[in-house]
């Protein structure tokens, strides 16, 4: 099948294309320099009134797995107030903060997203996470496996196990859980919470004798030495606590110059100044990101309105449970591996803290100079539902609009933020970097996030209009692997994406000690823990695409 897209204004930062008028050619689902001579041109799309980018990629969005299902169960209010009727081609569904799986896939595609990554795959819950992602159509998927609170790793660190053996464990876990990256949430903190420790700072010692700094250093080294493209994905200590910017800076330092990605960094950029003892430390955090080229971050922007927070960080979710709105909360300890906390929350523009959180996120976006190292997220659904992305893009691209919103937030929050003094307006080129090129690069997806020859034909064309939010909310055309799936913001064909994984090589002798650990302590057998490739396809329902890691090129 061959398709020609003509005359679009193309933004393709990987190839330094910045708004040039270009024709694009799709041959059998891939972008090519030209059409082949011997094949029929199936269709031509006139994109002369459109802005054209690669399909967008969300590198941090909680759309599948046990905690999302807990949130769906708890928040009937969200489901029934956001119904999604089905059609001849669409399954019906519900929800805005925690949509049903089909609805998540449809809403992402309708906004021009073609790949999304679930950032908290608990190893024992990986099958469920992948099943939910398999039932999320339209987009490619992937997951980051959680480590850093599991007894097996913490015991290895305590016992002084060599880095090589730890690397084998990390590689085995990636393989067993069919994930593409490793994430650590409140290193050691979730484990400590099981021993009734209510806080754990980065240099405090947890119950097994290891410190969060040590855990982060060990895991970032493992990820680096295994050649996993995505740096260690870190949810730092002290989420949401005033003054936590210090431990966030210490977390960056813990990687000792190795690549590290700090997620939803807005929630970790708080000072203690002022009458409210809560202030913005966005400047210090942005400065540190600007200075340390090994550091990247996604923001986790807060938007005003009702949502539900879902996190692996039981310790800090319990710390914040009194703020639940509506008043209900769930905390769960999980399988000597991790945990989860689910708490509904309503961000209010007339709350000093919420208003300042909103401003802090934008301050970070505007003060980090390099758009290749800062990513557009709301930590869906924790800061806001992902459907608020077009609004967020408008806040970044339109200073006057941003200041209008700023002027209606809590007055004391206005005094505590220097947001109006920031002149920066993101360009379309920069938006294309932070939502396409950069996420693909940092995840190691060489055929995604760009429009060069050989790339998967994941393409979004937005009809040019004055209102940026409207433009990004309803693309004129979205192509997934060359198939037109969305026209004028509505789905015209459903497709099933793949699951991106990486499988670094490792010494299989690690399996001997793992088998003993499973035999002695776990309640699922070692042989049944691992998800095989054929189980992914035959039972779970995901086709997998394996990406090389440094040690298996």
């Amino acid at each position: 099948m061959e398709i020609k897209l003509t005359g679009g204004e193309v933004y393709d930062p990987v190839h330094q294309v910045n708004g040039d008028k270009k024709d694009l050619y799709i041959v059998d689902g891939k972008l090519q320099k030209n059409l082949t001579d011997n094949k029929r041109l199936d269709n031509t799309f006139d994109l002369s009134d459109c802005i054209v980018m690669a399909g967008a990629i969300d590198l941090h969005t909680h759309i599948g797995g046990g905690k999302v299902n807990i949130a769906r169960t708890m928040m009937l209010e969200d489901a029934h107030s956001h119904p999604h009727p089905g059609s001849d081609i669409l399954r019906s569904g519900n929800g805005r903060a925690v949509p049903s799986t089909y609805s998540s896939g449809y809403r992402y595609a309708e906004m021009g997203y073609t790949a999304c990554f679930e950032p908290a795959v608990l190893p024992v819950n990986a099958r469920q996470a992948h099943m939910e992602l398999a039932d999320t159509p339209m987009i490619d998927k992937g997951g980051y496996a959680l480590l850093g609170n599991d007894d097996f790793l913490l015991n290895m660190i305590r016992e002084g196990t060599t880095q090589n053996v730890i690397n084998d464990y990390v590689a085995w876990l990636l393989d067993a859980t069919q994930c593409i990256g490793i994430k650590v949430v409140n290193a050691g903190g979730i484990h400590a919470f099981k021993y009734n420790q209510r806080r754990l700072d980065i240099d405090e010692t947890g119950p097994t004798g290891s410190k969060p700094r040590e855990i982060i250093a060990t895991l970032s080294k493992a990820v680096h030495e295994l050649g996993i493209a995505h740096p260690l994905h870190v949810h730092a200590s002290n989420l949401g606590v005033p003054g936590n910017f210090a431990s966030t800076l210490a977390t960056m330092a813990a990687a000792d110059g190795l690549p590290i990605h700090l997620t939803h960094i807005q929630f970790h950029s708080y000072g203690t100044e002022g009458d409210y003892k809560f202030s913005s430390a966005a400047c210090q955090i942005a400065e540190a990101i600007n200075k340390n080229k090994n550091v990247s971050a996604d923001v986790g922007q807060v938007m005003f309105g009702q949502t539900i927070t879902t996190s692996g960080d039981t310790m800090m979710q319990y710390f914040g449970h009194d703020h639940a709105s509506p008043k209900k909360w769930t905390i769960m300890d999980i399988e000597c591996e991790a945990g989860c906390g689910v708490i509904p929350f309503k961000y209010r523009d007339k709350s000093f803290v919420n208003a300042l959180q909103w401003a802090i996120g934008l301050e970070i976006f505007l003060q980090v100079n390099d758009p290749w190292r800062v990513f557009l997220t709301t930590d869906h659904p924790n800061g806001a539902p992902f459907t608020s992305y077009p609004h967020l893009i408008k806040l970044l691209m339109d200073r006057s609009f941003r200041n209008d919103v700023f002027n209606i937030i809590h007055k004391d929050a206005q005094k505590a933020s220097n947001l109006p003094s920031m002149d920066r307006e993101y360009s379309l080129y920069e938006i294309a970097i932070m939502t396409r090129a950069a996420p693909a690069k940092i995840l190691g997806l060489s055929n995604h996030g760009h429009l060069g020859e050989g790339a998967s034909a994941n393409i979004t064309a937005y009809r040019k209009q004055n209102d940026i939010e409207q433009m990004f909310a309803k693309p004129a055309y979205v192509f997934k692997n060359g198939t037109l799936i969305v026209k004028d913001g509505e789905i015209v064909e459903t497709v099933q994406g793949v699951t991106h994984v990486t499988k670094p090589e490792y010494d299989h002798s690690i399996e001997k000690s793992l088998k003993k650990y499973f035999d002695d302590y776990q309640t699922i057998s070692f042989n049944n823990f691992k998800i095989s490739n054929d189980e992914m396809i035959e039972c779970i329902g995901n086709q997998i695409e394996t990406h090389p890691s440094g040690n298996n090129h």
């Binding site: 299902n69 489901a79 569904g93 049903s100 769960m332 399988e335 309640t523 035959e538």
Partner: protein, 427 residues
Amino acid sequence: MQFENVTCPHCGLLCDDLSVKVTGLTVQLTDSTHPCTKAFTDASIQTNSLPTPLILGKPVSQEQALDKAITLLRASKLPLVSGLIADVQACREAVALTEKLSGVIDHANGSIIRKGTAVMQRIGEVRTTLSEVRNRADCILIFGSGLLARFPRLKDRILTPEKTLGSENTNHKKIFILDVSRDGTTRCKTENNTSHIYLNYPLLESLVYRFQEVVTRPKEYFVEHNSESDPDHDHDKDTKQLFSILDTILKSQYTTIVWSVGDFNQESAEHTVQALTESVKILMKKVRCVALPLGGSKGEITANQVATWQTGVPLPVSFTQETPIHNPVLYDGMTMLQNQEADCLLWVATYNSDDVPPKHDIPTIVLGHPNMKCKLADVYLPVGVPGIDHRGLACRTDNVATLPLHKIRDSTLPAASDLLNKLIDLL
């Protein structure tokens, strides 16, 4: 042929360490002294030939049976898809089919699982998983002495395993099994760190509410409210016993409170679960305390998880309007049958032959276990047993672990999911 690490789907624990021998169509545990009497008792097909599809008890081809099923479903104004005693794949297809039919879907035990769901929707919960209890718990309270029989390997796999990751206290955890005496006495028998305590309350629920009071109120409250003229001295003894347990909880590092909602009076079970959940949340202010509600022995957890992620709401789910609706008052499956609101039943039950559909005077289509005696059904389609005749996935009682079910027998019986998928195509 012998298979190791076989998963047993016959209770919510989903033990996956079983060794199973398959000879032809016969399936049996390799170890005849195995502690679980539930596992694979019903798996062997005794007849020489496989069961065939039936229409009103008469053998027909699969095609004829599917055609008849479609005719019945098309004629129905409000079909109910229920049973759902099945694996993930069958539940996925069952939800999709119900949507196509604009019907209602609910599990056979939907009304029981709803108690926990409602409490979760009202106040949330604090809970844990099996390995966490096995390795971390140093104090366990079990409400209802019948629970150990319903989860046969809870004791050896979770409560008193040979090894744990924890300390000496975890290896020798204190276990309190609480129940009511029903004979007016208060009794306590302790053996190897396990205390069987029978208190003088009329119902298990009364014991739970008293426990909640003990957790919530200061001791002085009970002194004030127990006048000396109160002739019921046993009442005091029971409260004291509960206070003694509370002292143990407050000295422990990780207390787990275990129950199974099926053991409670169903009229008040929601209130009882809420009382337990609130007790755990109050205790959490000082110490680590978690809940481990047990259930899922008929695949309830699997069905509910699948429905929740696919539709955004838990069971029951109605597709009678444009979007999926969760309204357990209007759409409780068994009530719809009793009130004759549903006019056609599609029943999916794959693990046990005795999970037959409830008898009601409406057309009934059964996708059932190969040994099921189901002659009264309008249509009976025998299907394979997940974890024996085909691969599958099942969700464990703690809502976290999903276990693989392996194919260990070559029977050619179709998977329920395949037949459900065919029905979707035929519609």
